[in-house]
């Protein structure tokens, strides 16, 4: 599920990089806030634990094994924000050191696995983790975290023009569904085994010692609606990719297609600044301007978030 560079189209990876940078900055702040400094070693070591966990194989059938992915497990033991930071560090190390996932695609992979994957994994636990359906909530968290990451990755590829026939898509979905179920089962089994060693390892979602204010607890509706909207839209993109003709006809009839095309092509239209008609210099300049633009956007939005977070800290 680590998308390599090359397969995503420029609007997709650039948009997700720009979305991921301030989100990660904000979440890093949040994970760090109001807690002793032992967090960085803890998150780092548990990140290395997730790497090491890939070596322990879980037998799941004759000759087949699975391994822990870890997003949901980390969110139950560290809290969602810290789990997101740890997963982000894991993805960055994987992209840089192991070439597992692209560097330009890093933002995409972070959104899929560290942000949405962790949030989706934590949501059922936040809702039912304190009650009698705790096991079920942990299972659902494992399933949802893998499933949402996989659906997002598929739809991003589809949006980048990787056409998937119905058969391929069905196979991929079936595989992802099975691995999602396995992740749920493995997460529950590991958490229960951990709790036999350290009874309080998994945080009680509503307890006061919990790192973040359990916002979901007060109103789970926005989070659930957000997640549902996200998943529905990814399914929409996937359906659109299998039946491009039907969607196109619909789009042309309603006039949306033209508008979308304009939106997608306006910024630095195809990396070709229109005011520079000469091909050679124009392309180079447009490309470099594109990089600068992406970078500036990341830094500016990141700074804005940072400042707000700092100010809020002081006022408390």
């Amino acid at each position: 599920m680590h998308i390599p560079d090359g397969f995503l189209s420029t609007p997709v990876w650039a948009a997700l990089d720009i979305a991921a940078a301030p989100s990660v900055a904000y979440i890093a702040r949040r994970a760090q806030r109001g807690f002793e400094e032992s967090r960085a070693p803890l998150l780092g070591v548990l990140g290395a634990f997730v790497f090491a966990a890939q070596i322990i194989n879980f037998p799941v059938g004759p000759g087949t094994t699975a391994h822990l992915v870890g997003g949901a497990l980390l969110s139950f033991t560290l809290g969602p924000a810290a789990a997101s930071v740890a997963m982000t560090a894991i993805l960055a190390i994987q992209a840089l050191v192991f070439q597992d996932g692209g560097v330009l695609a890093l933002g995409t992979n972070i959104v899929n696995m560290a942000l949405v994957g962790v949030a989706a994994g934590y949501l059922p636990y936040a809702l039912w983790g304190g009650g009698p359906r705790r096991r079920l909530a942990m299972f659902a968290g494992g399933v949802l975290s893998v499933l949402s990451s996989a659906l997002l990755a598929l739809s991003e590829l589809a949006a980048s023009g990787v056409k998937m026939s119905g058969g391929v898509l069905a196979t991929a979905m079936a595989l992802f569904f099975v691995s999602a179920i396995l992740e749920g089962a493995i997460t529950v089994a590991v958490i229960e085994a951990i709790e036999r060693i350290q009874p309080r390892a998994a945080r009680h979602p509503a307890s006061p010692m919990h790192l973040e204010k359990p916002r979901f607890q007060r109103s789970p509706l926005p989070a659930m609606i957000g997640l549902a909207a996200l998943l529905l839209s990814t399914v929409g993109v996937l359906l659109a990719s299998t039946q491009p003709d039907g969607i196109q006809r619909l789009g042309e009839r309603t006039g949306i297609a033209a508008r979308v095309r304009m939106l997608l092509h306006t910024p630095l239209s195809n990396y070709h600044a229109s005011f520079l008609q000469s091909d050679v210099g124009g392309k180079v300049l447009a490309g470099l301007a594109g990089i600068a633009l992406v970078y500036a956007a990341c830094v500016l939005v990141g700074r804005a978030f940072f400042r707000r977070a700092v100010v809020r800290n002081r006022s408390i």
Partner: protein, 240 residues
């Protein structure tokens, strides 16, 4: 990934501690050049085979300049190929055969470029470069710790697996599943305890809550020249 994690890591780590001119450039200059090359590769859409070959030669020249084993590097970057092959096959089935080749080539070259940047910059310095470019410090500290214990914890997991095999454990699926969960739980508990011990050791050595600057490097004129030239080359190659 499996068995080879610590060994391949160690080789990359020793590569990154070379002393060529490429090693000595500021990490920021290398990151800028890397991003420029990646964007050039990602957005290329005409005459891909020629462009890909040119970029490949450019990167090989980089590895030679850094006095690193070219064959080893080419093989190392090939670890992404199995996954890329799956994606390429999907494109192929969808009737986009030519595009499949182009995208696979782009993926491989991007991985090779990232590898060159990594193999000439020790990770702590690279993270220092990220910090100067504005990445959140806390995240980089976590990544630092993660990298450090990446040498240790997988080895521990490996030992646990070997120990289980040495006890000639041939469990059924149900018991095997539970045994694996137990092993992971032990590994988790040990990791957790280790993090606490690390923190105490840091405090004992006078850690005051802030890490010292990761690296006090100056962005020299040579770094700027390198960044500009190395960024311009792939874009120039695109126009060939």
């Amino acid at each position: 990934m499996q068995r080879a994690v610590p060994r391949s890591l160690a080789s990359l780590d020793s590569w990154s501690r070379g002393s060529s001119a490429l090693h000595r450039f500021d990490p920021r200059a290398k990151l800028i050049a890397l991003l420029a090359l990646l964007v050039a590769v990602a957005t290329a859409n005409r005459s891909i085979p020629r462009f890909a070959l040119a970029v490949l030669l450019f990167l090989v020249a980089g590895f030679l300049w850094a006095r690193l084993p070219v064959a080893g590097a080419l093989a190392r970057a090939a670890v992404i190929l199995p996954f890329v092959a799956v994606l390429a096959a999907v494109l192929w089935i969808g009737g986009q055969g030519e595009r499949a080749w182009a995208l696979a080539a782009k993926s491989y070259l991007s991985a090779l470029a990232a590898l060159l940047a990594m193999a000439t910059t020790p990770l702590p310095r690279l993270l220092g470069g990220f910090e100067k470019l504005g990445a959140p410090r806390f995240l980089l500290e976590v990544a630092q710790f993660l990298y450090r214990y990446l040498f240790l914890l997988p080895e521990e997991a490996q030992r646990m697996r070997q120990a289980a095999a040495a006890r000639s454990m041939r469990p059924g699926i149900r018991e095997g599943f539970r045994a694996a969960a137990g092993a992971l739980a032990v590994l988790f508990a040990r990791s957790y305890a280790r993090a606490g011990a690390i923190h105490h050791a840091m405090l004992a050595r006078g850690f005051n809550g802030r890490f010292p600057e990761m690296q006090t490097a100056h962005f020299r004129k040579a770094d700027a020249v390198f960044a500009v030239v190395a960024s311009a080359v792939p874009w120039g190659l695109r126009l060939l």
